[in-house]
């Protein structure tokens, strides 16, 4: 693998995490539990898709093979997407949506904070900008963990159920392979073990405060970095890519 190939792959991972989570949040458009949340979730979706767009543009320029950001978003198949397993999980109830969001916001918050120092100037610029937006995302989802955990018995139960179900996808975010190792040596990528420690502290603290527990002895699921996904991604892509595939090159 060349550095160029590793960098292309790394940018896809960053972009796909945002694109897929952004798409999931966009599903709440006009279906949010209250008007303010409908607006909040779709605004966060917009931030994430905007960041994904810039990262995919950069990925396309690295690949330099005639594909643009739209081709990468709408014409890749499931096995060529590298978003985390957690990001593709369906929204289900609002507790489920917010637990998923919080776990990923906290991951993005520390990852982007580290990537500001990347020796790759484009990654540094995009993550510096992105981090400012993600700070607001994390503040939003942290508030919900508090409210749902300390709300009623029902809201606490549902939030705990969501944590129990989603926890098996959390380790997948921190998997590192040759791509990471190569780029860490070059000062471009960041060591995900460092991110994991910070992430654990934030998540433990928030859950403890909200009277929520992390499940013990969970069988962890992996695979996103080899493009191996849960059954949910295919359906998501079918919807997200439909228009572009049915009407190639369509414009508003």
């Amino acid at each position: 693998m060349t550095t160029q190939e590793a960098l292309f792959n790394y940018c896809l991972r960053l972009a796909d995490n945002h694109l897929i989570l952004g798409h999931r949040l966009s599903e709440l458009c006009s279906k949010g539990p209250v008007l303010e949340e409908d607006i909040a979730c779709t605004n966060i979706s917009l931030d994430l898709i905007g960041q994904a767009n810039a990262l995919l543009q950069y990925a396309a320029s690295i690949e330099n093979n005639g594909r643009n950001e739209d081709d990468l978003a709408f014409l890749r198949h499931e096995r060529h997407f590298y978003n985390s397993l957690l990001s593709e999980q369906p929204n289900r109830d609002f507790a489920f949506t917010m637990v998923k969001q919080f776990l990923i916001d906290a991951f993005n918050y520390y990852l982007f904070d580290e990537l500001k120092k990347s020796k790759d100037l484009t990654i540094s610029a995009l993550t510096t900008k992105g981090h400012k937006e993600i700070t607001y995302h994390l503040r939003h989802s942290s508030t919900w963990i508090d409210r749902l955990g300390l709300g009623t018995d029902e809201s606490n139960l549902r939030t705990q159920n969501a944590i129990n179900e989603l926890w098996r996808f959390t380790d997948d975010m921190f998997v590192m392979d040759e791509v990471d190792k190569m780029l860490i040596t070059d000062g471009i990528a960041t060591d995900l073990n460092i991110i994991k420690t910070k992430w654990q502290n934030t998540v433990n603290g928030a859950f403890e405060k909200a009277n929520l527990k992390i499940p013990e002895k969970v069988w962890m699921q992996y695979g996103s970095k080899q493009g191996k996904h849960t059954e949910h991604l295919g359906f998501l892509l079918a919807e997200m890519q439909h228009l572009h595939r049915a009407y190639p090159g369509v414009k508003w």
């Binding site: 909040a40 931030d47 905007g50 400012k132 700070t135 994390l138």
Partner: protein, 165 residues
């Protein structure tokens, strides 16, 4: 190919008239979206930066810039999207902040977003209508990603607050 008859300063004056599509009382220059103007090989190169990464107004701003040049007989225009340095609300000048307030949007406070914001500490935001500081946040995300929704507990009016970033 027509040669460009406008100077950089003339171009800057021209583009500084373009209002922000979402907040038409301030211009793209007031907001700091317009970053750099240069002329190379008979082409105007205009660098702009998005406020938020997903700002849907950017495409419209690009179209407005191209339209403005066309009206002045210039066809060779290239728009360059830049991400560094990252846009900050600190670039909005005091005059523009006052225009925001009169329009009904509470302008951003001075300091940019930092780690203390994680603690959900809320700043005192003055109501743009009655200037009371007896206000509360309704939602962290308002009509656009760059604004939060607040309510004044004195005059009872809901208002947008331009978040610091």
């Amino acid at each position: 190919m027509n040669s460009i008859s406008l100077s950089i300063d003339e171009i800057r004056n021209l583009l500084s008239q373009i209002p922000d599509p979402e907040i038409p009382v301030i211009t793209i220059a007031d907001l700091g979206i317009l970053r750099e103007i240069s002329i190379q090989d008979n082409t105007c190169i205009i660098s702009i930066t998005p406020t938020y990464s997903g700002c849907p107004a950017m495409k419209m701003i690009e179209d407005e810039i191209i339209k403005k040049f066309r009206e002045n007989g210039v066809e060779n225009v290239k728009i360059n999207m830049v991400y560094h340095p990252a846009w900050t609300t600190d670039w909005i000048n005091d005059e523009a902040k006052e225009k925001l307030r009169i329009y009904g949007i509470a302008p951003p406070e001075k300091s940019t977003v930092n780690k203390s914001s994680l603690m959900s500490e809320t700043k005192e935001i003055a109501c743009p209508q009655c200037r009371s500081k007896n206000t509360e946040m309704i939602s962290q995300f308002g009509s656009t990603a760059c604004k939060a929704l607040y309510r004044c507990k004195d005059c009872k009016e809901a208002f947008d607050y331009f978040k610091c970033i």
